[in-house]
């Protein structure tokens, strides 16, 4: 089964000041697949995926070595427009973080900042995105009410809708279910399964079952190093490293 390459990391090292958070990481992310990043907390999962939309740049005194390519283009080259990059690579955060604005304003935010003013187009796009995020039925009657009145799970799906509205190519999820109850978690997982038809998805999780359930590829990270990267099936049935097996069978971490 041949898969198209979407993102490629070439010997990436990342430093917070003098502390090295990622060591010599190389791997490839395939188009229209769900790639899970697992590992004990503090191993560098968030740091790794925040490289793909250059969010780590917001933290002072950080340094990156190596190349990260999106469709062959090194996204850290000076001529790359970071604003445009972040439109192509969306992100859903660990804690739902809707703006203290209406549901409509939340979903249309990314379009509005890209200069789109046409009310009809915006309305259509908001509806489409909310439907894709499986939230439309629950909120269609109160689009102009505050997003903060939604439940945690709804807020997270709103954040997904908000990310979908700008039509990204890749969506990064950083432990999107860690603040949610099991029912809400299930909804998000189903959603991610469907989203991969249109998008390339990278999801950080420290829930092993979740990784096994929803991902095609799994990367296992420890202490900033990529221990093993393979088909999810392979990782969870016959990992090639002892340490991977120990981790996924819950012998530590």
């Amino acid at each position: 089964m041949e898969s198209e390459l979407k993102i490629r990391l070439e010997t990436v090292n990342f430093f917070y000041g003098k502390q090295q958070a990622l060591k010599d990481i190389s791997f490839e992310v395939y188009k229209n697949k769900v790639t899970a990043v697992i590992g004990p907390s503090g191993c560098g999962k968030s740091t790794l995926i925040r490289l793909f939309n250059r969010m780590n740049e917001l933290i002072p005194n950080t340094r990156l070595e190596g190349k990260i390519r999106l469709d062959r283009q090194n996204i850290y080259e000076p001529q790359v427009d970071v604003v445009e990059l972040r439109r192509r690579v969306g992100m859903v955060f660990q804690k739902p973080n809707p703006f203290p604005k209406s549901i409509f304003e939340n979903v249309s935010y990314g379009l509005a900042v890209n200069g789109i003013k046409d009310r009809d187009y915006l309305a259509e796009k908001v509806e489409r995105s909310l439907k894709d995020a499986a939230l439309w039925k629950e909120v269609s009657g109160r689009l102009y009410k505050s997003a903060l009145a939604l439940s945690g799970g709804q807020q997270q799906r709103l954040c997904i809708a908000r990310a979908l509205a700008v039509e990204p190519e890749v969506i990064l999820f950083d432990e999107p279910c860690s603040a949610l109850d099991p029912t809400a978690t299930l909804k998000i997982e189903e959603l991610i399964q469907r989203l991969k038809e249109k998008y390339t998805i990278i999801i950080v999780t420290h829930n092993m079952q979740q990784a096994a359930r929803i991902s095609d590829q799994t990367a296992f990270l420890m202490l900033g190093e990529l221990i093993e990267y393979d088909l999810t099936n392979k990782i969870f049935t016959s990992p090639s490293k002892k340490i991977t097996e120990d981790y996924i069978t819950g012998r530590f971490g």
Partner: protein, 285 residues
Amino acid sequence: MKMNKSLDQKIGFSLIFSMMLITLFFLGSLVYFIAVRGAGIISWQFLTDVPREAMTKGGVAPAIVGTFYLMLGSVLVALPLGVACAIYLCEYSPKKTIVNLIRISINNLAGVPSVVFGLFGLAVFVKFFGFGVSILSGCLTLGIMVLPNIISASQEALIAVPQSHREASLALGATQWQTIKKVVLPGSLPGILTGVILSIGRVAGETAPILFTAGTFYMRGFPKSPLSETMVLPYHIYALMTEGVHPEFQVKIAYGCAFILLILVLLVSSFAIILRQQQRSRYGI
């Protein structure tokens, strides 16, 4: 043991409660005395007429108008400058040492006695820029005086906006400037307005900074332009209590002015409070 703990708590609560009562008592008696002594003289003429017969008759309308102009004008001066400065310090965060240096200067500025601002205003706005003793000079002087308050209030309000909102905005492809305009500023507006409310109170009450920059204690008419001098309530109170030869009339008028000053501050502040409340409740910040 348990007994002791709940007794301890009871004592603590009663202490705090009595302190609160004492505070309320002082505040209440202030408003009560000013109202009792000042409310009697308030009449339509007092509110709308100019002073007559060596300040013993007529009204204090020019002072009310002048105070209102100064409150409004100084906020117009201080608000954009203060918010811009706070944004620079919080959002663009240049080098730590520069930020700290500016912070220390601002805090020191907040401690400078108001009469010093008056002298500064006289030297710079009245003389150097040639605005003369005028509403404009007064607004600029008072605006600079309350700048530190506005800056600190704005800084606190900006810091209180969750980092996750900034990240969400940037991750959607917004520029930093768009993020500030659409997410950070709206989120911090209630806090900024609190700073404005406090500043309005200070501006309305200060006499020293306007003595040499804007105020005159006697006017037959109303100020005509931003470049004309003006009567103001606090200065008028001061003049009524220290000058003139008819204390039997003047003291009453002074209390009347104090009462109006209280009401005026209350009115303008409640406007800002309503604005703040609207912002807060709009989306439940």
